[in-house]
Amino acid sequence: MNAFVDPAGMSGHSGLARGEVLLRVDNVSLSFGGVKAITNISFDILKGEVRAIIGPNGAGKTSMLNVINGFYHPQEGTITWRGQVRRKMRPYEAASHGIARTFQNVALFKGMTTLDNIMTGRGLKMRKNFFWQCLHWGPALKEENEHRRKVEEIIDFLEIQAIRKTPVGRLPYGLQKRVELARALAMEPELLLLDEPMAGMNLEEKEDMSRFILDVNQQFGTTIALIEHDMGVVMDLSDRVVVLDYGRKIADGPPEEVQSNQNVIDAYLGVPHGN
């Protein structure tokens, strides 16, 4: 693959070693009025692993991701990020702390080109103030070009050179998903949350996307938490799996173990009534 990537340059945000706890969720409960979306869930994500969150529809998977990146605030429980207990936090603060995210329904900036979309992901790393932005010259131009270089590396990595200048609204769905991944990668996140990265893709696109996810994990050292319904993909990609059902955690462990867990089988296949 692409050998230019220097993992040390891309990942060492927190200085955590591989295998240490990057994020821990303790007894988190989230409800909307009378609807309990998440009930008393605890799990952890280790630095450098691929962690899958699975469960039937409405199990609370997406809500869990929304809690992690600050979009929802849980009523109970704590979230520990890099060893620090996190108070209430806005999504852009989570972003600046190295948590990036893609969406179940593609959430790209439709009116902008692929290049601009990915450049927007670099926004947090750009420091030049309003005055220099007005001039777009000197330090601002230099900064812009430095970030363009980084973005081009990501474009090469995800093999989307041909659509660089295309408005993303015109792209086919599979490529939009890839651009969304590129935009998240542009943030150089420490933790990457992928919400159904392969939903609605054909087999070939799924294979490509799986490859990219593994490459991101191995080359950049990015920790990945993903939600996915394709069990073949989940079992192949992930190091550990947490299973949710009706907002509760019903299993947690390596793929093989989860696969044979009776609770999980019941949740997916259903249990006969009256038993």
Partner: protein, 358 residues
Amino acid sequence: MLYREAGQFKSSYAADQAIFPIAQDRWAVWAFLAVAFLVVPFFVNDYWTNAILLPLLIYGMAALGLNILVGYCGQISLGTGGFMAVGAYASYKLMTSFPELNMIVVVLLSGGITAAVGVMFGLPSLRIKGFYLAVATLAAQFFLVWLFNKVGWFYNYSATGQINAPDRFLFGFQLTGASAQPWVKYLFCLTLLTVFALIAKNLVRGRIGRNWMAIRDMDIAAELIGVRPLMTKLSAFAVSSFYIGMAGSLLFAVYLGAVEVGESFGINVSFLVLFMVIIGGLGSIVGSFMGAAFLVLMPILLKNFMVDGLGLMPVTAKHVEILLMGLLIIFFLIVEPHGLARLWQITKEKLRMWPFPY
């Protein structure tokens, strides 16, 4: 044939991200600017500046400002007339309170004051979106016009309630007042517009512009990649109001010379500028100018054609003109809902491929 980019290779990211990456475009723009700056000033007379060039430049500036807010940041505003009034009254107060102040400084300060007012009325945008925000900014329009009518301090308690621009000189040439030379006014407005169009382009192709567009296209996703909605929306309101304030200042001081707030900055001005932006093309700098040109020049062309060409009575011509303008607007919006700028872009794409269809 002539419009080809074959053989123009980019060897740096800077060259690739230039405003006009195609050499023919660059030459055309330089030629256009050279004519505008070096040739036109020698030929302008009162009719040309007052009927055509000044309205074009000033409404171009206002449309540019509104396009930043509506087209780039996606926040609808109907307060343009009110904000232009802020610019006009700010420059009136500045000109009368500090007679020595340089006119460039007056215009810039008026823009700055309008930016502050704009930010204040932009605060609701954090909570309300779309049409509801339009209604909130409509309140700004009515409130500001009422304020400038009601509070005597703004018009220095003059008996008529009008404000009149005193005579001011720039580098020894009279710029405002009755006996100012047309070419001075023209060059002053043209220079300001050129400089600030360049600044606007720089803003929208950099980090700040991308953040605006991110908020416009998908605000939740923008927030999750680290765009701060508060800062981004308010900065769009500030920059947009700055431009609109400058337009108001120029409209009052350089173009009209005397202004009555309800007449010159009423709700119809807000709609006029909004139509310029929509017809010209949302989210396009050149579109703002095309929209302004369309709505300023087309009525004059139609009138000249009907009165001089067809020999209609001026009154009849006026009515037909309003009718035709409405039809033309509908026609253009059906042909290309994304505005004249999009038509222009499609034309250029076709030209690059010509004679092949694609």
